[in-house]
């Protein structure tokens, strides 16, 4: 008999998770991707680097983040729900984990500058924050539509000393911000690191970002053990590119826990997509029969992406994780419910995972099921948008 497959291990030499991943980049970026792989391998095997990464997350990033038992929501839904509180990490989301790692790596590679794409602005804010801390110069590409939806985050990035460039091509959202950051990277790759914000893009990014985010899952696993909960029945997280989900799944990939990723219905790459190549990776994408990428549509800028990280495409295909879709109409009530019952206003992205729990409680989730919810971010950035939506509805 074969040994059971180990999930969420290293990708193969070509950067693949099963059929997905790879390195579909212009020649001009190939060398930078190869060098980054070498640099990361070297750093991640260097105890001093790893220690510094943990130290910075501890003394600057606010880690470890707690696990909170959501008692009232649990009673309301007939479940036992524990939340991993990434909303309490510095800058208000899990994005800080990845950028602390990548900016330390940038410094180690001797590059003085980072660029980044951002959707909701959370990755942009986190990158600007980590860059400021290390004295790196920082430019963030953001779809013009998102600069309007998330105007406050634009100002936050500027306060942190970053330059924000609105992207006016295509759908003017996250997908186009990635295109523009890649194009820009071609011109400055010698002295600039592209601090990619999720488990996507060409190898080695999906792997690097998952490794930096896996601290979420490792902490949560230890915390649940200490709380006497043990391995939860279900681990659920929202999925844009998939970094917070990959981070928490990494702590449970080789347990019996059921892993659930929740995409926005208007950007559900697993449920409604097909295999293809975009942004340097082979993954599941929303596209037409001619291979033209379709525009995602979601109330949440951070999930407004027509693809998904390649490792998630693989976990879906291997039936190790399942991916569900939640529509805009279910998101706002979920955000309100968590706010009113638990005193936690989640990000619109995170509210997708909450909405899935609300939908499935009592049906596919039997009473008493234990659930670990990745509370990927806080909702402060979304308050103005939610107010507009609720005003429009009344």
């Amino acid at each position: 008999m074969n040994a059971p497959e180990v999930f969420m291990d290293k990708p193969d030499a070509s950067g693949r998770f099963g059929d997905f991943g790879g390195r579909f980049v212009p020649e001009a970026l190939m060398t930078a991707c190869l060098e980054l792989e070498v640099a990361f391998n070297d750093a991640w095997n260097d105890d001093a680097f790893v220690q510094e990464f943990y130290d910075v997350l501890h003394t600057f990033g606010g880690r470890p983040t707690p696990v909170t038992e959501l008692s009232r929501l649990s009673r309301h839904l007939g479940l036992r729900i524990y939340a991993k509180r990434e909303d309490l990490a510095h800058t208000g989301s899990h994005k800080i984990n990845n950028v602390v790692g990548q900016t330390l790596l940038t410094k180690r590679m001797g590059k003085p500058r980072v660029i980044a794409e951002t959707g909701a602005g959370q990755h942009g804010v986190a990158t600007a924050t980590a860059a400021a801390r290390l004295g790196l110069s920082c430019t963030v590409y953001m779809g013009e539509l998102d600069t309007q939806r998330q105007a406050l985050n634009v100002f936050r990035m500027e306060l942190l000393g970053a330059t924000v460039v609105p992207v006016t091509s295509g759908s003017k959202t996250l997908k186009d911000a990635v295109n523009e950051a890649m194009r820009e990277w071609v011109t400055c790759v010698k002295d600039t690191h592209y601090c990619l914000g999720s488990v996507m893009g060409p190898h080695p990014f999906p792997w690097i970002v998952r490794e930096f985010q896996s601290i979420i899952g490792r902490e949560a696993s230890r915390q649940l053990t200490e709380m006497g909960v043990g391995t939860p029945d279900v681990v659920v997280a929202c999925v844009g590119g998939g970094s917070n989900a990959a981070g928490i799944f990494a702590g449970f990939a080789n347990t019996d826990a059921r892993l659930v990723g929740v995409e926005a219905a208007g950007g559900a790459a697993i449920a409604t997509g097909s295999p293809g190549v975009l942004h340097g990776m082979r993954s599941m994408l929303i596209q037409d029969e001619f291979g033209q990428i379709e525009e995602a549509h979601s109330v949440s800028a951070g999930l407004d992406y027509p693809g998904i990280g390649p490792e998630h495409a693989y976990l879906a295909k291997a039936h190790r994780a399942q991916y569900e879709a939640i529509g805009d109409d279910e998101v706002i009530p979920a955000l309100q419910l968590l706010s009113e019952l638990e005193g936690i206003v989640p990000a619109l992205e995170t509210a997708h995972a909450v909405a899935w729990l609300i939908r499935e409680a009592g049906t596919t989730l039997a009473p008493g099921t234990s659930v670990l919810l990745n509370l990927s971010g806080r909702g402060d950035k979304d308050v103005a948008q939610v107010r507009e939506i609720l005003r429009g509805a009344s």
């Binding site: 070509s14 790879g22 390195r23 579909f24 980049v25 212009p26 020649e27 001009a28 970026l29 190939m30 060398t31 930078a32 091509s169 295509g170 997908k175 186009d176 295109n179 890649m182 194009r183 071609v186 011109t187 400055c188 790759v189 010698k190 293809g276 190549v277 975009l278 942004h279 340097g280 994408l285 596209q287 029969e289 001619f290 291979g291 033209q292 990428i293």
Partner: protein, 259 residues
């Protein structure tokens, strides 16, 4: 050796610097007239862009052309259908992104393109490491797979890429996506690095937009590729006559360059 390379080596053998203009397919009803005009005016090969929604290696001009073309309903099949109606007399090379070919089916896409005088393909998001399936699909149809060498490509890699490329080697003239510029680029050193390890024809593209720049590039390479400067004019309403004049101005500069 691919048919494309035989043809392009013959151009070099005649002592001629190649001129390769780029057109985005399907930007208007007239696009094939533009292609024919370029061939009449002395282009040695013609690059045909097949539009993709997310052209990572293209600047604003070609992005705009791709969008216009897609809005008009252009597909791989529609371009092949239109190309079947013309014989421009010089080899055609398509430039597109991998997802377009994947969705056409690699075998089917290669077969369809080869049927209409397409002799090669440039797929900028498909480096040699990822292209074995595509090059296997191309081989039976004598469709050349053309690779780029960038200013950032280290010498060991230049040797690998130059060895794998077919037809010609695309020397990326500067660290940028497609677009026009007045700056002096890195074309000379990139071309020299390729020539040091291979005698495949070397064409310089990206950042060549004027006859003067083309003339300079021709002093250290076998030809030039001009895209955005031409596509900009077409988006602004250039007629086939205008295209002919444009190509002739480059032709004259290149012919003068080594008389």
């Amino acid at each position: 050796m691919t048919g494309l390379e035989v043809t392009l080596r013959a151009v070099r053998h005649r002592g001629r610097r190649a001129f390769v203009p780029y057109f985005m397919a399907g930007t208007s009803n007239e696009w094939l007239r533009h292609v024919e005009a370029a061939a009449n005016a002395g282009a040695d090969a013609i690059e045909i862009g097949l539009p993709f929604s997310d052209p990572m290696m293209d600047g604003v001009v070609i992005q705009e052309a791709a969008k216009r073309s897609l809005d008009r309903g252009t597909t791989l099949a529609s371009v092949v259908g239109e190309l079947a109606s013309v014989d421009v007399g010089v080899p055609l090379v398509v430039m597109t992104y991998y997802n377009v070919l994947l969705h056409g089916g690699l075998e089917r896409s290669a077969a369809m393109l080869a049927q209409v005088n397409v002799r090669g393909a440039i797929v900028p998001d498909l480096p040699p490491e990822e292209s074995s399936e595509w090059s296997s699909a191309c081989a039976p149809h004598d469709l050349a797979t053309i690779y780029l060498v960038a200013p950032s490509t280290p010498n060991e890699r230049v040797a690998m890429v130059a060895q794998r490329t077919q037809g010609f080697c695309y020397a990326q003239g500067r660290m940028a996506v497609t677009g026009t510029t007045s700056e002096e680029g890195d074309g000379a050193s990139v071309a020299a690095a390729i020539r040091a390890v291979s005698d495949v024809p070397v064409y310089v593209g990206i950042g060549v937009s004027t006859p003067e720049q083309a003339q300079r590039a021709a002093s250290y390479s076998d030809g030039v590729i001009v895209g955005s400067a031409l596509v900009r004019r077409i988006l602004d309403g250039a007629t086939p006559n205008d295209v002919e004049d444009f190509v002739r101005s480059f032709r004259r500069a290149l012919d003068a360059s080594h008389e």
